[in-house]
């Protein structure tokens, strides 16, 4: 007898483009997107989309994606036109049955990120992409002629 249950994990978690926070000084649109996002706190639990956290410190932005069961070699991370896209392929093996499905998520990246210096790290099923900020142009004094 063979009972095959639909694997709840095989649903494609694909979502559209998400507004990412701009720099705090960028103005009001940021605020409204924040309010919109408040309505969907922790949707990752529902399981239909690749959840992301975004943090900032004085040197960098950090985007953390929840990707349990995805191997390091099965990621494709891309920055294109100011949009960071993470694509992850998850492979599962249940006895003789093998299945795979892909998850993607895109976030728009604030201006002033040093694209060359972006790095990603995978740890305990969390992918963290570090986006270093560009050095601000240093203040210079202008002499009166």
């Amino acid at each position: 007898m063979k009972i095959i249950r639909t694997n709840p994990f095989t649903i494609n978690r694909v979502s559209g483009l998400d507004e990412w926070f701009r720099h705090p000084l960028a103005g009001l649109p940021t605020l409204s997107s924040f309010i919109n996002n408040l309505g969907e706190v922790f949707p990752g639990v529902a399981g239909d989309k690749l959840a992301v956290d975004v943090h900032e410190d004085k040197d960098s932005y950090f985007a953390s994606f929840e990707v349990p069961g995805v191997k390091k070699e099965d990621f494709k991370i891309e920055l294109n036109n100011g949009v960071l896209t993470v694509a992850a392929e998850r492979r599962e093996k249940d006895g003789e049955k093998e299945s795979s499905y892909s998850l993607t998520r895109s976030v728009s990246v604030p201006e002033g990120v040093n694209a060359e210096a972006i790095v990603a790290k995978l740890e305990d099923g969390i992918l963290t992409v570090t986006l270093p900020k560009q050095e601000r142009s240093k203040p210079r004094s202008i002499t009166l002629s």
Binding site: W20, V45, D57, P68, L122, G125
Partner: protein
């Protein structure tokens, strides 16, 4: 035989989840020799996983590591910081000393070998 999580094979304890914990996604497979349980525990380091088998109740706890180091500001949050708790009632005797557990890429894989008495037997017709 491929067994999955029918009410007979594993029953989540009714009072297992409290306010500050959540139930992780999990999957159960099995054959005549063993059950294989896979639990999604993203964000939980190996040292934060606690396993316990008491009577026939298997408890898996996973504590998430702090995701926000000091000096960092959250701009957008979707990941839940809550820790995981999963309690399953096993309907077959499991050989505790042969249990194995592996945590890889945020997925915990538990192999629960059945005791001899629980394995199916061929009965010859004389």
């Amino acid at each position: 035989m491929n067994t999955t999580c029918s009410p007979r094979t594993c029953t989540p304890a009714t009072s297992g989840v409290t306010e500050s914990l959540r139930k992780p996604l999990y999957n159960v497979n099995g054959n005549a020799e063993a059950y294989e349980l896979r639990v999604e525990l993203p964000g939980v380091p190996k040292s934060n996983v606690k396993l316990d088998l008491e009577e026939n109740i298997l408890t898996v706890r996973g504590e998430r590591s702090t995701t926000v180091p000091e000096g960092m500001k959250a701009l957008h949050r979707e990941l839940s910081p809550l820790s995981y708790l999963l309690r399953l009632r096993l309907n077959a005797p499991v050989s505790e000393e042969q249990m194995t557990a592996k945590l890889e890429d945020g997925v915990l894989t538990l192999r629960l070998p059945l005791k001899e008495v629980a394995k199916p037997r061929q009965i010859p017709v004389l």
